[in-house]
Subunit: 113 residues, 2 copies
DNA sequence: CCGCATCCATTTTGATACTG
DNA sequence: CAGTATCAAAATGGATGCGG
């Protein structure tokens, strides 16, 4: 994968443990455009992480599913998600401290009266 | 981390097991602009993954080092890197198949003579 | 040496309209 | 329903010049 793409892992996590139709993915993610979802799925399919099954019915139906390789990618994505969840509070606190410190002088010479 | 940034993990991996100066990082990475490196380091510092130590000498010197949280991030980055290395060949093969199949008709009716 | 500010090229994304 | 095409908007990244 040369360029993961902003939505790649989100899509992979949506495919956790079940086959999904295009519109199900779209609704499940919520704020992704049709175009971006299409591109993301194409890249995942191209790299062998997702399989695509077309049912030539009317209306058409397309199912997406993780391949074995895709399942491995899901494990990594989960690792990342768990890390983010575990440390969300610590990161927010660090960020808050940093933003506060930015407004203050490097060395405080006198205490404010 | 709301937005990881293209170079974030590269920088973290450069900080594996040792403190680094700004210019050392720049040379070690090789193809990153000063601006982008500065921004990447600031974000990492802001979120508590990297600590920054300023030596007010002339010329100035600034050291960067992973915090405990940063070390955890490094583990994740390594996991990703190992996954990519393990599956590089498989992904390239899948990509090649996909690109070839794109040019062919969906159903081959007759064999070429 | 370190890093900020500005400008500019490239990339990425979304909105919209249209097709099978 | 599941895309494709096109255009405009926004984010990103690099180059350059300046400053502590």
């Amino acid at each position: 994968m040369v360029k993961p793409g902003k939505w790649t892992l989100v899509v992979v996590m949506q495919l956790r443990s079940e086959t999904r139709r295009f519109s199900e993915l779209r609704r499940g993610i919520g704020d992704i455009s049709q175009k971006t979802l299409t591109i993301t799925l194409r890249e995942l399919e191209r790299d062998g992480f997702v399989s695509r099954t077309i049912f030539p019915t009317i209306p058409p139906r397309v199912d997406y599913e993780l391949t074995a390789l895709g399942q491995e990618l899901l494990q990594l994505a989960d690792g990342w998600r768990q890390f983010a969840a575990r440390n969300r509070v610590a990161v927010e606190a660090a960020r808050h401290r940093f933003d506060l410190a930015a407004g203050e002088p490097a060395i405080r010479l006198v205490s404010s009266s």
